[in-house]
């Protein structure tokens, strides 16, 4: 009897947690209003969350572009097909690497900082103070950060991909001496706007939503202690990463 109940608890635990998370999302969304205060708050968070992730995203994007070109040329050379490199890089970037890598990097850099910030506010009673002033902390603290994340991730993905292509240009054309004209024409003709580019944008929107929701939820539900906040930030990265990859598969199978 005892063994049964722990198994049930193990199963129902995460399920009810997921349910709470969904309710949290609905509670946040119900507070969206085009008020100057809220817009300003979202803008401020966009800066703190998005703009401050920019540098790491751009650096990583550039190097991913370069290494991808390196690997691609290595492989394609054997078939005498080196000039297909831009096509390979472009397609894999738009469809997979851009959205997924950007989202993972975002989860690590911005997701953890969101969770830590909210968790700390909870541990120092700031959220409680807001409630007592009849301010809903979910809408004052969590919502702007959530929206900022959803806005930032697609933009960051675009910048990641742009810099990756730049990296590819530098490596393939600059270092390996491929013809620039062929590079761009293969890229422009082979990468499909509807399928590859738009599909990638959808992915980055979904990923942005996932990472932002997980980050604000775990911050809000963290245990109000130092250890609690630490656990919450770890959970944010772990769960975000897993969900990103799971949803990547789901979306890829019906987008492509």
């Amino acid at each position: 009897m005892a063994a049964e109940s722990t198994v049930m608890a193990r199963l129902t635990g995460p399920v009810s947690e997921a349910g709470r998370c969904l309710l949290f999302l609905l509670r946040m969304l119900s507070g969206i209003r085009p008020r100057a205060g809220q817009v300003l708050s979202v803008l401020q968070q966009t800066y703190l969350i998005g703009a401050r992730s920019l540098v790491i995203i751009m650096i990583c994007g550039f190097f991913v572009g370069m290494v991808l070109s390196l690997q691609a040329i290595n492989a394609l050379e054997q078939f005498g097909a080196s000039d297909q490199v831009s096509l390979l890089v472009g397609k894999s970037l738009f469809r997979e690497l851009g959205p997924v890598l950007t989202a993972l990097l975002f989860a690590g850099r911005a997701g953890t900082s969101i969770t830590a910030e909210i968790g700390l506010m909870k541990a120092t009673n700031q959220l409680e103070a807001m409630e007592l002033m009849a301010i809903d902390p979910v809408q004052r603290v969590a919502l702007p950060r959530f929206l900022a994340g959803v806005i930032s991730v697609p933009l960051l993905t675009a910048m990641f991909s742009a810099l990756a292509i730049l990296g590819s240009v530098v490596f393939a054309i600059g270092v390996m001496g491929l013809d620039a004209g062929i590079f761009w024409s293969k890229l422009q003709n082979g990468v499909y706007f509807q399928k590859d580019f738009v599909g990638g944008v959808w992915k980055s929107l979904v990923f942005g939503g996932i990472v932002s929701l997980v980050a604000v939820y775990f911050g809000y539900s963290a245990k109000p202690t130092g250890a609690g906040v630490g656990t919450a930030t770890t959970n944010t990265v772990v769960l975000s990463s897993v969900l990103i990859l799971v949803f990547d598969f789901i979306m890829t199978s019906f987008l492509f």
Binding site: T124, N125, Q126, E128, A129, M130, E131, L132, M133, A134
Partner: protein, 274 residues
């Protein structure tokens, strides 16, 4: 401070009335049949060992928690029966100073104090500014309005939190360990502010504290909570002289007494030789 002083200040009318309050968390009964009367104009202290439920009672009064049974009445209204909208209006009239101040770390001192004003009133910006600056001056911190909370010392931060709590001139004040962690000068400052504001604005204040020495200096009346019940109540001097074992143990800081030294896990008593 003695009974005479208290009743001279208050008109004897009890504006916070708690009857047969029971509150449980999981299997633990935190409060088991609590009865409290708080008279208008007085400063009442809730004392007791750590973790006994003093802060829980504050949360029950402010409506953050609902009791399992019993009633909490403020000015004749049942707090547990209030709708969200009523609670909002109710809280406009309560000032709360939480443990460690709980200032919003991402806002300036000015913005912190201005938050309740902007949230609950429609005052134009110049009036908001005037109100905030006057409260800031009243706690002796004029000129710090653009500082961030982390730039302030403990005592200053506590005073800003105090200013934020009283900015709308509430009738009722709830203080959760307001003097914990402060140096002696800051302690006196907060105590003075508490007393003066209470008397000037005709407030009723409830202070949660476990510092007996400090409580004796400002409280009109005390409730000692131990083992989920009221172990004793009365003006501080009366309690200090009490011969009731729990009260005596607490007021005089004794290790031996009814409040146990050994941790008792819920369920069977624990023994070293089990």
């Amino acid at each position: 401070m003695n009974i005479g002083h208290a009743s001279a200040r208050s008109n004897g009318e009890s504006i916070i009335r708690i009857r047969d309050l029971v509150f449980r968390r999981g299997r633990r009964t935190i409060l088991d049949g609590i009865n409290i009367d708080i008279h208008r104009g007085s400063i009442v202290a809730f004392m007791g060992p750590s973790g006994v439920g003093k802060t829980t009672i504050l949360r029950l009064i402010s409506g953050q928690l609902r009791p399992d049974s019993g009633t909490v009445e403020v000015n004749g209204h049942r707090v547990s029966a209030m709708s969200d909208r009523d609670l909002q209006r109710f809280r406009r009239n309560i000032g709360v100073l939480l443990q460690d101040g709980a200032l919003f770390t991402d806002l300036t001192v000015f913005e912190n104090i201005a938050t309740p004003v902007r949230e609950h009133t429609d005052l134009p910006e110049p009036l908001v500014r005037r109100l905030v600056m006057s409260k800031l001056a009243a706690v002796g911190l004029g000129g710090t309005e653009e500082r961030m909370p982390h730039e302030l010392s403990g005592g200053m931060a506590r005073r800003v939190a105090f200013a934020r709590a009283v900015v709308l001139d509430p009738d009722i004040m709830l203080y959760d360990e307001p003097m914990t962690g402060l140096d002696p000068i800051a302690v006196s400052t907060i105590r003075t502010l508490m007393r003066e504001t209470n008397d000037t604005l005709g407030q009723t204040s409830i202070v949660v504290s476990h510092n007996v020495t400090q409580v004796r200096q400002f409280a009109d009346y005390c409730y000692i909570i131990a083992s989920a019940r009221i172990a004793g109540e009365g003006p501080p001097e009366t309690l200090a002289a009490s011969s009731e074992p729990s009260v005596d143990q607490f007021m005089n800081g004794r290790v031996e007494g009814p409040i146990p030294f050994h941790y008792q896990p819920p369920g069977a008593p624990w023994g070293l030789l089990d």
